[in-house]
Symmetry: C2
Subunit: 368 residues, 2 copies
């Protein structure tokens, strides 16, 4: 049964028609990227598939000038493989010279979900930040901050919140409604604080006017639209650039969700848990019987194990292509595909979990 | 012609029916105050005439425990005698042991009036703050801050703005509409920041939970109502207390306004300006002709010169009473009343302006 499609920054349900979203949201297909981008699986395989104003960032990289990559995290539950898309982009852009700004959206979690600031802090410090570090994020040119506590530098702290208040004059209630649909004061403050998150790196207390790239899941585009509209009306800001990535499938299909333990593979899952989850829950594109599968072939495009290989765990294009063909022809069976995926995930997690132990000791160097 | 009565935090027009406001706003008459209050003209003459929860402050004073007096200033034009009511209360409560918090409402001026932060800063530093100091405000237990730059202590800065964001979850759009009537995002952010102004002294980064008194003109009560309603829903706050004072008449009647130079006496006006303004503009309760005045008597209750004596410049009750009677009987003529008022104002301003010169050098000791 196909559920009604609903995409807002606070809810994603039903099947996602990305082409329709590109059209509805007015974003552009991502194409003709420099080689360094194509070396990255996320770009090469069009997992990052759309953008606004990416040219400005590409020109900045070409001219070897500084730029900022700004992103946020909504602290919720376990850090899972769905969170890796953003983490990998942090590492990618940091290597390209970007200054990395990461907002822990604890005030948004409070205002939109009623989650306490303490709970958000705990999750960010125990789950998200150590995993970013273990995935390769470096402390240089990187600042991770809490929305509720922007900076230990009083000038920066004042400037960030001042901007939130100043932006309020340049937006109307109707714009909030048009962008978000349902709105209340808490969500409105969150949206303005998010706009400040995206724009404040350009304040003189931070980097000064500078190109800023905000990579997001396409469900977060409303925040971008609003911040872009507002920034046009305030002096001193270069327009924001953004890229959009596909959702990572949950084990059973749909979006991977921190609130459903059987929808995700956490980066702290044990070998056995990974095996159990993939075997028991990973939605398969295989046929009902072995015989039918061998005769008619499976469907790798809806197979969740295949998606995980494609997104994260099989960087070798030839191998991935062979798996795709073999599964489609029926030569590769669902059990075999799952076994291969389990092996690849566990090999990755073994190394990652070793790094994670060390990462927890380094957190302080990332907080500003 | 009687204009339609309109009282909001951003507009006061028409004649003011204070008894109706007391009833409409649900505040209480101020009565039975300790002697130290009665020694103050503003209380003795019921210029400060109403309150909410003043008992808590009186008990705190009686128990010699600490409390906070919190107020704000909207930087606009010249500092005039209408601004003295609040300044005198700052000095009064500071002597009673209160910690004084003063917010320069520069973000509200930006969001509600479109005044730049630079302009607000200039007016606060050149007009309001030196006049507070010259009127007797001491730097100890006093902090004056800008809404756009709360503190040089990063913990305090973060805490103040965090509170603004946290409070947003505890209020609805309908409450804003009920309290303010017309509302837009800028005004909503201002209202939440004002709530944070009033409540943040109780955060652990500041004084911790403590009684807070907010003296205001009755037109500012909507801010109080909203802050009180919100604070009931958030843990850790003692309910706010407040007092309400009468408006100071402009020279021609109505509210004294910084935007109409001929409505006010600035504390920097020269002797000649004072003389000219009182003679030319001060609304008189006198009769049309000398003969009629002597026969029927004048009306001190609407006479602006008399109001200024009553509010500020004639502390001697007996003398004031005699002036009242003599004017009412027709014995005291309008010209004589004006001459007396001019003399009293100029005597006050001469001393004040001498203090003002010294005050400008002391400003830094008041800013936090």
């Amino acid at each position: 049964m196909r559920k009604e499609n609903k995409i807002t920054p606070w809810e994603v349900s039903g099947e996602v028609d990305y082409e329709k979203l590109i059209k509805d949201f007015g974003v552009s297909h991502l194409k003709e990227l420099p080689r360094v981008f194509d070396e990255n699986v996320l770009f090469r395989r069009k997992i990052i598939f759309a953008h606004r104003d990416i040219q400005r960032i590409l020109e900045t990289i070409r001219a070897k000038k500084p730029f900022v990559m700004m992103t946020g995290l909504m602290p919720s539950g376990k850090f899972h493989i769905g969170h890796m898309i953003l983490a990998q982009q942090m590492v990618f852009y940091q290597k390209l010279g970007a200054r990395i700004y990461i907002a822990v959206a604890d005030l948004e979690a409070y205002n939109a979900r009623g989650q306490s600031l303490e709970e958000s802090r705990k999750i960010a410090l125990e789950e998200y930040i150590p995993n970013y570090i273990a995935l390769g994020l470096k402390p240089i040119n990187c600042e991770i901050y809490f929305q509720s506590e922007r900076s230990k530098d009083f000038k920066k702290a004042n400037a960030y919140y001042r901007l939130q208040n100043v932006l309020a004059r340049h937006v109307t209630f109707n714009e909030f409604k048009a962008v978000y649909g349902d709105i209340n004061p808490g969500k409105m403050l969150s949206a303005l604080l998010q706009a400040s998150d995206m724009l404040h790196p350009q304040l003189r207390e931070f980097e000064g006017q500078i190109p800023v790239l905000v990579p997001v899941g396409i469900d977060q585009d409303p925040h971008l639209r609003l911040a872009r509209d507002i920034s046009k009306r305030v002096k001193g800001f270069t327009q924001l650039s953004s890229t959009y990535h596909l959702f990572v499938s949950g084990l059973g299909g749909g979006k991977m969700s921190s609130s459903d333990i059987n929808s995700y593979i956490a980066l702290t899952d044990s070998e056995k848990e990974v095996e159990r989850k993939i075997k028991k829950y990973a939605f398969s594109g295989g046929r009902a019987t072995l015989k039918e599968h061998q005769e008619k072939g499976g469907n790798p495009d809806v197979d969740v194990s295949f998606q995980y290989l494609k997104f994260f765990f099989e960087p070798d294009d030839e191998k991935l292509q062979k798996i795709y063909q073999d599964y489609k022809s029926g030569k590769l069976l669902t059990g075999q595909l799952k076994e291969y995926t389990i092996k690849k995930i566990n090999s990755f997690l073994k190394k990652h979990q070793k790094n994670l132990g060390k990462a927890k000791k380094k957190i302080k160097r990332y907080l500003r």
